[in-house]
């Protein structure tokens, strides 16, 4: 079920500007539809546990991952479906993982918060806030030592700025000039608390303190994300060291699928504003049409294709068998 679109490397070589931005559109739509189905599975009580949806933040994962090679690394978070899809994983095995099925990326052992996929360089989602900052930095360290030219992207929410280990590894990355990009997705909330209540000073200052290249961008603008990411990635690949990218964005749904009543921490107007005025897919669609890269029919066709793919993936996962109970104590040790 892996499409060409899900493999950035194949596409990129031959791609024109137009193809590149159409592919970015398709990737964002796939993520949005994927998350809608996750919510659906939760509502229909088909999914065990909870999941944290990425809807609204698509331009960040897509803009960045489209600037990567397939063998570049990413580390992800509890809100990881978007990163995982953008890096090239296929929805069928992702859904299977979300449902705890043997066909899932982790044989059902990981679930939503731990999807990992060596084939696309995905070192794993992580259920510990800030838990993967060391891992991403370590991957960059290995890349540098092994001279394989790989770059590591470390995705995290602005809540992870509270974790001290981030500062420890940023210091090390800058000292050792490691090819790692710290991507802080500021969606304004740490769970149910506005980031201004948890964040003194500035976000970029946290990286500038270590002399690190640091840039803040509009995370709803997939082209801007992509262009800045491409520059920072090539800079890192060339041995010029790490960077920090702050992408301002918004999550449309609750902290997790069960977080329905949100008025006590954020207003409906705020949500509506972002969905209506700042939707990354809509903004990009407008641009594609304005540029003459596509008309709305073409975009609609892409959406329909993506929906077919995603719905097929759900069916696959729902029908897939659970792992045999004998597997429970496999994979503890390599």
């Amino acid at each position: 079920m892996t499409t060409a679109a899900s493999n950035p490397e194949i596409g990129r070589e031959s791609s024109t500007e137009k193809e590149k931005w159409l592919r970015a559109y398709r990737q964002m739509v796939r993520i949005r539809l994927f998350e809608e189905q996750v919510n659906e599975l939760y509502t229909r009580a088909l999914m065990p546990g909870l999941a944290h949806l990425y809807s609204g933040q698509e331009a960040v994962a897509v803009g960045i991952c489209e600037a990567l090679r397939r063998d570049d690394y990413i580390t992800s978070t509890h809100r990881g479906h978007g990163h995982c899809l953008a890096k090239g994983a296929s929805p069928d095995r992702m859904f299977a993982e979300l449902l705890g099925k043997e066909a899932g990326y982790c044989r059902g052992k990981g679930g939503s918060m731990h999807i990992a996929d060596p084939a696309t360089g995905n070192l794993g989602a992580n259920a510990i806030v800030g838990g993967s900052v060391g891992i991403a930095t370590g991957a960059a360290f290995a890349s540098k030592r092994l001279k394989n030219g790989r770059v590591a992207i470390c995705f995290f929410g602005e809540g992870a700025l509270g974790q001290g280990s981030l500062y420890e590894v940023m210091n090390l990355a800058e000292l050792w000039k490691l090819p790692v990009i710290y991507v802080c997705e500021n969606n304004l909330y740490n769970e149910y608390t506005h980031f201004s209540e948890t964040t003194a000073g500035t976000i970029l200052g946290r990286a500038l303190a270590f002399g690190m290249e640091a840039v803040a961008i509009d995370g709803q603008d997939v082209r801007r994300v992509h262009d800045v990411a491409a520059r920072l990635v090539e800079r890192a690949r060339a041995g010029n060291g790490p960077a920090f990218l702050q992408a301002d964005t918004y999550r449309y749904s609750g902290h997790h699928v069960g977080d329905i009543n949100r008025e006590y921490y954020r207003s409906r107007q705020e949500e509506q504003f972002w969905k209506k005025e700042r939707d990354p897919i809509q903004l990009h669609a407008n641009w594609l049409i304005a540029q003459g890269h596509a008309d709305s029919a073409a975009l609609e066709k892409m959406t329909v294709e993506a929906r077919t793919e995603i719905e097929g993936a759900v069916k696959f996962a729902v029908a897939a068998p659970y792992p045999s109970v004998d597997h429970v104590d496999e994979d503890v040790y390599a």
Binding site: P48, G49, L50, G100, K101, C106, R107, G108, K109, G110, G111, S112, M113, H114, N126, A127, I128, V129, G130, G131, G159, A160, L161, G162, Q163, G164, N190, E191, Y192, T193, E197, T198, T199, Y264, Y265, Y322, P323, V325, H327, V328, D329, V332
Partner: protein, 332 residues
């Protein structure tokens, strides 16, 4: 035994925890609570709902996601006049607080020759079967029980939760208080009046004569369920709940086993190098001449907790598992 007092009313485990904290916040100005999303959100489990409204955001305080940092702040605040209750949302995040808890909180009193005190409570969760996978399902109380200077509490009923938590807040030492997140909705009798439960006093949750089931936290409910099933088979099980793994009421445990001659130790942490090891070793030593069979240990399976429901379910001891083991032991 306090459980036999007239049950005026029933509360859930979560309500009992909240009431204990509300009463202590009211009683003593120096008590305060901090942690992630403890205020307006009242924690993701809604255990603290309503407290910020009564006590204000000066005393029920949201923090950034900085477990090591705010635990350290708790230690310092406890040394200098407050009685902080520090909230660690999932027991799995205790990993981030170990230095502050073990190298600082646990040792400050001793290292200072008894001069400084650290009257602080760390409230956190344990337990699996919530489909939360390996990083949100651990039961790490054995680590803390290993460390001199800490006290470790594992309530198994709403009644115990309230009484033990009030004791914890009033204790002059750092106390780690583990709540099973699957037990928050469990109901039980909780009296209106102020009461506390001393640490180091086990509670015989059910009397019996053929076998002793020593169980902690969530596993007390499993043991009680098993005891009911065993009764139908003519096996009389005594259920002993230590309530605190440190201090540990060795006497009550050993006396029970001396009476029954058989013991199963149940705990939701990993069995290996865990709470079951300590308790089994205590029994094997203390009731050496009375045991009719080796002490049986039942803890979490020695694997990271898997996400997939059928896998997760087999990692935790169940009533049926306990019944089978007890039946086997009593046959001999």
């Amino acid at each position: 035994m306090p459980e036999t007092a007239t049950p005026e009313r029933e509360l859930t485990f979560a309500q009992a925890v909240r009431e204990a904290l509300a009463e202590e916040l009211r009683r003593d100005e120096c008590v305060c609570i901090f942690g992630e999303d403890v205020a307006e959100a009242g924690t993701p489990f809604k255990v603290l709902s309503g407290l910020v409204e009564e006590f204000g955001s000066d005393r029920v305080i949201d923090t950034p996601i900085s477990e090591a940092g705010f635990t350290g702040i708790g230690v310092g605040a406890a040394m200098t006049g407050l009685r902080p209750v520090v909230d660690i949302m999932f027991g799995d995040f205790l990993t981030l607080t170990m230095d502050q808890m073990v190298n600082q909180a646990a040792k400050a009193h001793y290292m200072s020759g008894g001069h400084w005190k650290v009257p602080m409570v760390m409230r956190t969760t344990l337990g699996a079967t919530r489909r939360s996978a390996a990083q949100h399902s651990q039961s790490l109380h054995a680590w803390f029980s290993h460390v001199p200077g800490l006290k470790v509490v594992l309530p198994s009923t709403p009644y115990d939760a309230k009484g033990l938590l009030k004791t914890a807040v009033r204790d002059d030492n750092p106390v780690v208080f583990f709540e099973d997140k699957m037990m928050y909705k469990l109901k039980g009798p909780v009296p209106q009046e102020d009461y506390t439960i001393p640490f180091g006093v086990a509670d015989v949750k059910r009397a019996g004569s053929d076998i002793t089931l020593v169980a902690t936290s969530s596993m007390v409910q499993v043991a009680l369920g098993a005891a009911v099933l065993l009764e139908k088979e003519g096996i009389s099980a005594e259920v002993v709940d230590p309530r605190t793994t440190w201090p540990l009421d060795e006497k009550t445990i050993v006396d029970s086993v001396k009476k029954t001659s058989r013991a199963i130790v149940l705990d939701e942490g990993y069995g290996r190098y865990g709470a079951t090891a300590e308790i089994a070793a205590v029994i094997a030593e203390g009731a050496f001449y009375d045991l009719d069979a080796p002490v049986k240990r039942m803890g979490a399976m020695h694997v990271p907790i898997p996400f997939s429901p059928p896998l997760e379910d087999v990692t935790v001891p169940t009533d049926e598992g306990v019944v089978a083991a007890a039946r086997e032991m009593c046959r001999k």
